[in-house]
């Protein structure tokens, strides 16, 4: 932290020259640069280390860490497939649920809408574990116990405050005239929603989809509690097992490869969809 303060002090301030203290200012600036460097190493270093370590074996480049990861447990393919099932269902359902609900909240007045909205926001207040123990029993009763579909449904519920809020804001920012024009053209409300308004709220929908993807791809506690068969495990669950399964004998090479595989799609999406990221933070985190 002191490094940051120093950087501020050392930054050029032409409006207030400090005569006779040039050497002190120079020393402070060097210290500030060192501080910034330390920060960059702290935040970027671990990521570089894990990528580097994942492709090294016994002092040379090799893919053996990855091949050991591919054959770990039930096989990386199974874990990726399971994770993909959860991700796809979570993303598709989150979009469907939030687009329709967001439209209703933004454009229609109906009795009970306030209660429903507050109910959805209340999900934010409840710690996930408090819900997971009853969900473990309840999902089993309704035939969704120990299933990827059940995990995905729970993820849709966790995401709902963010996704509904996001879509409501998106629809609210679309001018009503756009829709009214479509109505005059003879569209029913449903087809006007799809053809005219949906392209206008596409950025919001991309943000909802992105955050649903990240949440489902990375979720650990929900599958940990709801899934009991090893062949249904998602990637994070399998990777934690790789660390905790074999009585302290950890295959660190495979672990590093696993961390890279697990982080890569998220990093890639970040660079492709930076706008959607910023959109999500400013609309969801700050106003929510």
């Amino acid at each position: 932290m002191s490094a940051v303060v120093l950087t501020r002090a050392a930054a050029p301030a032409p409006e207030r020259p400090a005569p006779g203290r040039g050497s002190l200012r120079r020393a402070l600036r060097v210290l500030g640069l060192v501080g910034v460097l330390v920060l960059v190493v702290f935040f970027v270093g671990p990521a570089l280390w894990v990528v580097w370590g994942s492709i090294r074996n016994g002092g040379s480049f090799s893919g053996t860490n990855y091949s050991r990861l591919v054959s770990y447990g039930e096989g990386l393919g199974i874990y990726l497939l399971n994770t993909s099932v959860v991700v796809v269902v979570t993303v598709v359902l989150s979009l469907l649920v939030s687009i329709f609900a967001g439209y209703a909240f933004a454009r229609m007045r109906f009795p009970g809408s306030k209660l429903l909205f507050v109910g959805i926001l209340a999900i934010l207040m409840v710690p996930h574990t408090s819900l997971l123990i009853p969900l473990y029993i309840w999902l089993d009763r309704i035939g969704l116990g120990n299933s990827l579909l059940g995990v995905a449904f729970v993820m849709v519920m966790y995401q709902m405050p963010f996704s509904v809020f996001m879509m409501r804001n998106s629809f609210e920012s679309v001018p009503r005239e756009l829709e009214e024009a479509a109505l005059i053209d003879g569209c029913t409300t449903f087809s006007s929603l799809w053809r005219v308004v949906l392209p206008a709220v596409a950025p919001g929908a991309v943000t909802v989809g992105l955050f649903a993807f990240l949440a489902a791809w990375n979720e650990f506690v929900t599958p940990l509690i709801l899934l009991s068969d090893g062949n249904k495990y998602t990637l994070p669950l399998a990777l934690v097992n790789l660390v905790q399964g074999d009585w302290g004998m950890i295959d660190f090479g495979a672990l590093q490869a696993g961390v890279v595989v697990s982080a890569a799609p998220c990093v890639l999406l970040f660079f492709v969809l930076q706008k959607a990221f910023v959109n999500g933070f400013t609309n969801g985190a700050v106003k929510g």
């Binding site: 990240l214 961390v259 985190a285």
Partner: protein
């Protein structure tokens, strides 16, 4: 799109009889509920029912498998003070929350100021560098640090070795806490930095200019302009960090496994153990109801504080 310029139709409702308009508004309400139906179904089936079931289960001696649940209220609640692991976990979780809140708030504000003050080109690079860990999952981050901090695979042990220093990052209670805080800082500082930057951008530059004209130093204008005007943002960040800290689970489950000697067991971890190691689902439900009530109370209190801050700022 070709008709965007068309004149809006005259309001027809005034011309119709009131009966027709109630029928229409009823139809409209129906349609609205149809649109909201999927969200309502998810809310009821996956949130309201489990929440009710949690309260219901907490009244019973509810084993994980085998025999039927038996009503034993209020034993699940009255036995909580005797649950030594849980009571110790409350203290530990609160301590962790305070530490992580202070560290994250100070560091993320510092990072945001650094970005705001740096030149345009470098600020973009720095922002990306600080933000990158945020996009990885929490479990992924914890697994990364398991390797990074391990004496056999990680580089840190080697580097410290050059200076003849040896640190057991996860084997000592204090160091286990410090290691977890460092990992969480790595993962989350960029997130709160972005929130702080949004808050900083909302502060009008004229205020800084006025402060500079008055001869205020940079430190003084940080203290008298930035921090007071940033209070709503700081309060919101604090709410998010405190709530996250009190329900901490993954970071300790993966990194320290609650050890050494149960010194880093959090509240949520004890709920998990009660349910899936002790098989006492009823007792676990009671613990989660208590944690839930505590959190809701705290959230209401904190949100009220944020609201007051909002009022003061605008």
């Amino acid at each position: 799109m070709t008709t965007t310029g068309a004149v809006a139709p005259p309001r027809r409702s005034a011309l119709r009889s009131s009966r027709a308009s109630t029928a229409r508004s009823r139809r409209a309400a129906w349609r609205a509920w149809l649109y909201a139906a999927p969200a309502t179904a998810v809310l009821l089936v996956l949130f309201v029912v489990p929440l009710g079931l949690a309260i219901w289960m907490s009244l019973f001696d509810w084993p994980l498998l085998g025999r039927a649940p038996e009503l034993n209220f209020p034993e699940n609640y009255t036995s909580i003070p005797d649950n030594e692991l849980f009571m110790r976990a409350v203290g530990f979780t609160v301590r962790y929350t305070v530490i992580i809140a202070v560290v994250l708030l100070v560091l993320s504000l510092g990072l945001a100021l650094l970005i705001q003050e740096s030149k345009r080109r470098s600020s973009g690079v720095l922002r990306t560098a600080f933000f990158l860990p945020v996009v990885t999952g929490l479990t992924t981050a914890a697994l990364l640090f398991v390797g990074l901090l391990s004496p056999s695979a990680g580089p840190i042990d080697d580097v410290l070795g050059w200076f003849g220093v040896q640190v057991d990052f996860l084997g000592d209670p204090t160091m286990a806490m410090v290691s977890t805080v460092v990992m969480m800082t790595w993962r989350f500082a960029g997130f709160y930095m972005v929130i702080m930057l949004t808050g900083l951008q909302a502060i009008p530059t004229e205020l800084y200019e006025a402060a500079a004209l008055d001869g205020a130093s940079r430190w003084r204008s940080l203290r008298s302009v930035t921090i007071p005007l940033l209070r709503p943002t700081l309060a919101l960040s604090a709410v998010l960090i405190v709530t996250g800290g009190l329900v901490a689970f993954e970071q300790f489950y993966v990194l320290t496994r609650g050890g050494p000697d149960n010194s880093t067991v959090t509240m949520v971890m004890t709920i998990f153990r009660e349910a899936f190691s002790q098989f006492h689902l009823g007792a676990a439900a009671a613990l989660s109801v208590v944690v839930l009530l505590g959190l809701v109370l705290l959230n209401v209190l904190q949100l009220r504080l944020v609201r007051e801050d909002d009022g003061a700022a605008s």
